[in-house]
């Protein structure tokens, strides 16, 4: 999967698209791991163009979330399609992740915690 990446202030934004299943999960995991290794732990994941997410996809996001929170960072999700939102809802992951409607809102929500 192509994973576009950009930076606003000290927040990294990656965008996922298509189907995030067992076959693409590795790509996303590698991308997130490389960010975390570089101490970039304020991450927004834009899911505007993500059509489908499987449990393998959830696992990758959860694993990264656990890691960044250990380092006082966070992963915020933006622009979820209804189907993807439902998958998060069913697994109870909406309680874990901060989910925002817009990418800007997600980036801005970090500003309170930046010192």
């Amino acid at each position: 999967m192509e994973i576009p990446e950009k930076k606003i202030g000290d927040v990294d934004i990656i965008s996922l698209s298509g189907r995030l299943d067992a076959y693409c999960a590795n790509d996303v995991e590698r991308k997130l791991t490389s960010l975390i290794k570089a101490n970039q732990v304020r991450i927004v994941v834009n899911l505007e163009h993500l059509e489908y997410i499987s449990s393998s996809g959830l696992r990758v996001l959860l694993s990264a979330l656990k890691e960044v929170r250990k380092q006082q960072g966070d992963i915020k999700l933006a622009c979820l399609k209804p189907y993807v939102k439902e998958v998060f809802d069913i697994a109870g992951f909406t309680k874990l992740f901060t989910i925002l409607d817009t990418e800007k809102g997600a980036v801005d929500s970090f500003s309170g915690s930046i010192r």
């Binding site: 067992a22 449990s55 696992r59 959860l62 109870g92 992951f93 874990l96």
Partner: protein, 455 residues
């Protein structure tokens, strides 16, 4: 008779071609490959010495007699290559056969020619030792032959008298002999090197194939072990029908179901889906199943049992693994179902009386995500002909060639149209519908179904 240098060269090349055919055939014999594998048995060495000895003799007679009585030949090629392949003993053996034969042929250059043949075999053997048994490169073999033949010519000049005659012979044969021997040995070496590479590739292929077979065997065993974690058959519960099915997408999977007796007369019913697929999911499945089983019996409520199981699972849930799980306690006497839903897609309840379809939702979160979770426990009263269908998303997310999902609607439709079927047949029907729907598409996810039917 007027023999030109070109005539001699052409004849020698023709002879070299015979050598190549010989080389091709001999290198395919098991004695030759045995020597390549360093199996220096007496028999292997003797056969090689005889074969290459014959070739050396052929090298003499296949050569061309010059007007002076000297023979421009490729006799030295054979002992040298034999020495390079089989070491000093084989080289010397071949050299002796070729050399002695040449000696009894007589003629002006009899002594230096027979001597140099023996030395060629020894040189090949020494190079073999220096390279610790590794066969030379093609250009190295050619260079060695060229040097050896130059030495051969030097020996003629040194030994043969009168010197003028020796010089006349050397002038005529030195170039063709150096050229033909170098060319012949290069072609021979090329054939041997190709053989070595072919054999190495074949050996590697063999290794990978065996490794693959071992893994397949391992996965097959793992699959068997995982299947043994699932109930052999659903329990007989009075007033109810139970049936279940689990099909991993790969050899092993992350889905599981369970029927756990809760003394004195209740049953715990579990369906669960571990994140991911394959071996990691299968390992986590084994952990989750055991944790759930261990906590079901001792805890009074469904909520408490799963909360405790979660605490155990979370301790071991590295790298974001988690499991979604639906757990229900069936009280057959009161026809009650108490359930919690830990992030699993809600089972369907088809009410026999009204034909309504109800989703068994309850607030909760997948297990292994965090400690001390909150789970909502709900209670449900079952009536005759009610059907509860527990499933994993492999059922509803099976896709057809247009990438459409099987979906909840199709699942609901199959169930409502087949309410009269016994539980097991209803499962078979759903499986058939999913298979037909996803015809020809690879199965992406594990598929698991549990059906509870009230008689």
């Amino acid at each position: 008779m007027n023999v030109s240098v070109a005539d001699i060269l052409i004849d020698l090349i023709g002879t070299a071609c015979v050598v190549i055919v010989f080389a091709y055939v001999v290198t395919r014999t098991r004695f030759f490959t045995a020597i390549l594998d360093k199996q220096f048995s007496f028999k292997n060495q003797l056969i090689l010495i005889l074969l290459f000895g014959a070739l050396s003799i052929f090298g003499t007679y296949g050569g061309i007699e010059l007007p002076s009585g000297a023979i421009a030949n490729i006799r030295d090629l054979s002992p040298m290559i034999a020495g390079l392949v089989g070491g000093p003993v084989v080289g010397l053996g071949v050299g002796l056969i070729g050399g002695i034969d040449r000696y009894f042929l007589g003629g002006l250059t009899c002594l230096p020619c027979s001597l140099s043949t023996v030395i060629a075999g020894l040189v090949g053997g020494v190079v073999y030792k220096l390279r610790k048994g590794e066969f030379v490169l093609v250009w190295q073999a050619a260079l060695l032959a060229a040097v050896m033949e130059s030495f051969h010519m030097g020996l003629v000049l040194l030994i043969v008298r009168p010197y003028a005659e020796a010089l006349a012979v050397v002038e005529k044969v030195s170039l063709p002999m150096i050229g033909a021997n170098a060319l012949g040995i290069a072609l021979f070496a090329l054939i041997i090197r190709n053989l070595i590479i072919e054999r190495r590739t074949a050996a590697e292929k063999d290794k990978y194939r065996r490794e693959l077979e071992r893994r397949e065997y391992e996965m097959e065993t793992a699959r068997g072990i995982q299947q043994s974690f699932l109930p052999d058959s659903p329990p007989q519960v009075e007033g109810f029908e139970l049936a279940a099915l689990s099909l991993p997408a790969w050899e092993v999977g992350g889905d599981f179901y369970d029927f756990i007796p809760i003394p004195p007369d209740k049953w715990g019913i579990v369906i669960a889906d571990v994140s991911g697929k394959g071996v990691p999911a299968a390992l986590f499945m084994a952990l989750s199943r055991t944790c759930v089983r261990a906590n079901v019996a001792g805890n009074s409520t469904a909520c408490e049992a799963i909360r405790r199981a979660n605490d155990l699972i979370t301790q071991d849930a590295e790298s974001g693994m988690f499991v979604t799980l639906f757990y229900a306690v069936l009280d057959p006497k009161r026809k009650h179902l108490n359930y919690v839903n830990a992030g699993h897609n809600p089972p369907l309840l088809l009410q026999g009386s009204a034909g309504n379809v109800i989703l068994l939702e309850a607030s909760g979160i997948a297990l292994g995500v965090m400690d001390d979770i909150e789970l909502e426990e709900k209670e449900l009263e079952l009536a005759s002909n009610d059907i509860v269908v527990l499933y994993t998303d492999g059922v509803t997310e099976a896709i057809n060639e247009k990438e459409e999902q099987f979906g909840e609607e199709r699942l609901t439709a199959v169930i409502t149209q087949n309410t009269n079927l016994p539980a097991q047949e209803l499962i078979d029907k759903i499986k058939e519908e999913v298979t037909v729907f996803a015809q020809g598409q690879p199965q992406f996810d594990d598929i698991t179904l549990v059906i509870l039917k009230v008689s």
